[in-house]
């Protein structure tokens, strides 16, 4: 019964999405149209019904209704409740339902509260939202019905892969979906603004919280994914330029560019068509990423959930959404009036530079990711990796980072060199001095050297926008920017330090023997078998110490899972304020010695702390923006005059 209610709700949702699409489209043609008044209510009811359908799915998973096929194949009556619930979206059908539910709820929310845009633009936006959602409903109802019943109820569920019974993995997909859905809302706003030619600062302000929200989730997703790969895969690396990683990086790059160009549009009514273009590109990148990962078209070290049929379907949706939006763009963009002009040496100028660089990096990553696909068409197999991505990306990343230090100090419209002479000289001096120090005292290649120097300069530069201001009157959004830019510096420092100063040793050690890595002394006490619920492992007991410190025990394992049979290495980490000690247990040699792979990675943790700071900055920015919106709506005098942007320092 519950499952049937859920399915009925889905059908109703699809009908409402059609209503949104048709009503919104008719409203564009003949002014108001009779259905136009129904567009907003349809979006709200659709949001409620989608939520209801998802609750029904959670419910059948909670009570382990084994007559539902999805439950029978993905759950088990003995599983802890939290993993029963997370099992609801830990599969293809459930995750699609989660995605469309979040999207419908976002549509309902904007229909309910968004009153700033012209009604016609809102209807066009909701029509676009309905169009996007309709594709997903069609997919769910026609080919991936999560509520499908079995002819005979199963006796017991087939469980969830024990490897996936991990709290981190339970929340990893929703994080990504929130990010993707935020970008889909930005996409709908962009299409709506384009259709009605209402590309205004108001549009940018309405869109911005959604972009920021998506950006925060994507930042968290990338940060967590990088750390997961670092400790779980046991290779000691934190970024591999794998297609799956690139699939998460590309929407992030586009969203980063979008949120900066939206700021220019919101504050200065410039970069109109460019912002629209980025709104389309950001969502495209999330769809392209999903397509590359799910279709199995690219060989990836962690290709999963691969299914060519689903791949064709996603490609079809992608063609409809993105092809449609780009066609509208080609027809309409020419008729959108050019925005306000500005001087090159201004806040806008710096932000345009940032946008060009980010777009270039995005292009480089996209090209590198798709290149194997292109050459395979001519029967040439290539693999594109760090030797391409690192140096080519750096050509654009370094200038972008340098301008990032100065940009926030510039005034809108135009600025003078005189006013900024000293901050710029200070930042340059820090970069030069740190660079020289590293050059003299360290044996470091050029990219990490530049990374360390620029990180030091940026860390200081990030706080310069606060200089000479009453800190209690600094807008929250400005704090957000400062924190996020500081986070970039912190993360960059971690990356450069890890690359430059990591000490690595591959050693063969007998029990009782010891080994040295950098300042660390490692003693192998023993290697013993240990057993877990579904694995057995060899576990090394290592006592690790530095200087006169008390030795700490770390226990790397080599695990054998038996269902399904799989070998994994469980690395062991010892975290200190200035870095991490990383140990991996390898095979036993014939003479009884054990292979150990040992690393000391100075300041490696800053990579992920930096990522968290960037996301925190995004959260501050959202709070600041939404608060000033609410204030303005309440009719209060905005205490920053009429320009609530990251103002005139």
């Amino acid at each position: 019964m519950l499952a049937e209610l859920g399915l009925a709700a889905l059908w109703l949702c699809a009908a409402l999405a059609v209503l949104q699409l048709v009503g919104g489209a008719l409203a564009q043609r003949d002014g108001s149209g009779e259905l136009a008044a129904l567009v907003r209510p349809a979006a709200i009811v659709q949001g409620v019904l989608a939520m209801f359908a998802f609750l029904m799915l959670l419910w059948v998973f909670a009570i382990t209704d084994l007559s539902v096929k999805l439950v029978a194949t993905n759950s088990h009556s003995m599983k802890p409740l939290i993993f029963k619930l997370s099992g609801a979206w830990g599969n293809h059908e459930g995750s699609m339902l989660l995605w469309v539910t979040v999207m419908a709820m976002a549509g309902g929310l904007i229909a309910l509260v968004e009153k700033r845009l012209p009604e016609k633009t809102m209807q066009a936006t909701l029509a676009a939202q309905g169009f996007v959602a309709l594709g997903f409903y069609a997919f769910l109802i026609l080919s991936s019905n999560p509520f499908e019943r079995l002819p005979l109820p199963a006796v017991e569920g087939q469980g969830l892969n024990p490897l996936l019974q991990d709290i981190g993995l339970a929340f990893h997909p929703p994080t990504l979906y929130f990010g993707y859905v935020g970008l889909s809302v930005a996409f709908s706003f962009a299409v709506g603004a384009l259709l009605t030619r209402q590309v205004t600062p108001e549009f940018a302000r309405v869109m911005r919280p959604w972009v920021l929200g998506a950006w925060v989730f994507l930042t968290l997703g990338i940060t967590a994914g990088s750390y997961w790969a670092y400790y779980e895969l046991g290779w000691g690396g934190w970024w591999f330029w794998d297609p799956v990683e690139n699939a998460s990086l590309m929407p992030w790059l586009a969203a980063t560019a979008l949120l900066h160009s939206a700021s220019v549009l919101a504050a200065r009514d410039a970069l109109r068509t460019w912002t629209i273009m980025l709104g389309v590109v950001a969502f495209s990148m999330s769809m392209v990423g999903t397509f590359l990962v799910r279709s199995g078209i690219l060989t990836s070290v962690h290709a999963f959930a691969v299914d060519p049929e689903r791949g064709s379907f996603i490609l079809m949706l992608l063609t409809l959404y993105i092809g449609g939006a780009l066609a509208v763009f080609a027809v309409r963009a020419g008729s959108i009036a050019e925005g306000t002009r500005f001087k090159a040496w201004s806040r806008e100028g710096a932000l345009v530079f940032n946008n060009v660089m980010l777009s270039a990096i995005l292009g480089i990553v996209l090209l590198g990711t798709l290149y194997p696909l292109l050459t395979e068409a001519f029967d040439v197999r290539v693999s594109v990796g760090p030797p391409y991505f690192n140096p080519v990306g750096a050509i654009f990343t370094i200038p972008m980072l340098l301008v990032m230090g100065v940009g926030p100090l510039l005034r809108w419209r135009g600025d003078s060199w005189e006013r900024l002479k000293w901050p710029i000289i200070t930042i340059s001096a820090i970069i030069a001095v740190v660079g020289l120090l590293v050059l003299v005292f360290g044996d470091v290649t050029v990219l990490p050297l530049l990374g360390l120097a620029i990180a030091a300069g940026l860390a200081i530069a990030a706080f310069l926008p606060l200089r000479g201001r009453n800190l209690r009157r600094v807008p929250i959004a400005t704090w957000g920017m400062v924190i996020a830019h500081f986070g970039i510096a912190v993360s960059l420092f971690g990356m450069a330090s890890e690359t430059a100063f990591t000490q690595e040793k591959l050693a063969a050690v007998s029990p009782g023997g010891s080994e040295q890595v950098g300042d660390w002394n490692i003693k192998l006490e023993s290697v013993d078998p240990v057993a877990g619920p579904n694995w057995t492992a060899l576990e090394a007991r290592l006592f690790v110490s530095r200087g006169s410190e008390k030795p700490a025990l770390v226990t790397p394992q080599a695990r054998n899972f038996w269902a399904p049979p799989q070998q994994t290495t469980e690395s062991a980490l010892l975290t200190r304020w200035d870095g991490q000690f990383y140990a991996v247990l390898g095979d036993q040699a014939e003479d009884g010695r054990w292979q150990l792979r040992l690393w000391w990675k100075p300041f490696v943790t800053l990579i992920w702390y930096g990522g968290l700071l960037i996301a925190l900055g995004g959260v501050f920015a959202i709070i600041g923006r939404v608060r000033s919106d609410l204030r303005r709506r309440a009719g209060e005098e905005d205490n920053e005059g009429n320009s609530p942007e990251w103002e005139q320092a």
Partner: protein, 174 residues
């Protein structure tokens, strides 16, 4: 009409065309081995087990296609593939084993516990043959035609789903 505005759509169409084309191509998930088409090197291995003869190049040149299975008693996936090798043997396939870096008593114990699908088992104590035929791990299975030429290399354990594929490769090698 500014033609540059159509550029994004054209680029996107290029991507869709490429992706669509690749999606319709049959995806060979396995990298074709460079050893396919090469003859086996000359070798002559002593028996690895008491009740089976050793293996040499001459065994592969009697005109009948065979499987060459690289394995070891200390290899866990080899246990997993043992029943599937047994099924291949039941279908009349002659399997020649090469035991890598193994001891006779371990080999005997393994064959006792997990069955013995092998017609012959040679002992490769220093991985010499293994390296010469381009095998980098255990287990691996090669399809060898009647003249001793490698026709297919299967990396990793033989699973139930691989059995028909190997039968077909053997048929093709006839």
């Amino acid at each position: 009409m500014r033609w540059t505005l159509w550029l994004p759509l054209m680029l996107f169409a290029g991507f869709v065309g490429l992706a669509g084309y690749q999606l319709t191509q049959p995806k060979d998930e396995f990298v074709e081995s460079k050893m396919v088409g090469k003859p086996l090197p000359a070798f002559d291995l002593r028996p690895a087990a008491l009740n089976r003869p050793g293996a040499s190049l001459a065994d592969f040149q009697d005109g009948k296609p065979k499987l060459l299975n690289i394995w070891a008693s200390w290899c866990l996936p080899c246990i997993a593939e043992a029943p599937h090798l047994e099924r291949l043997k039941e279908q009349g396939v002659e399997i020649v084993g090469v035991a890598i870096r193994d001891r006779p008593q371990d080999v005997a114990r393994f064959l006792d516990q997990h069955g013995n699908p092998y017609a012959r088992i040679g002992a490769d104590d220093v991985s010499a043959i293994q390296l010469e035929i381009g095998s980098s791990g255990v287990p691996e299975t090669f399809v060898i035609d009647g003249q001793g030429v490698i026709r297919h290399q299967h990396i990793g354990d033989v699973r139930a789903s691989d059995v028909p594929m190997l039968m077909q490769k053997l048929e093709e090698a006839r």
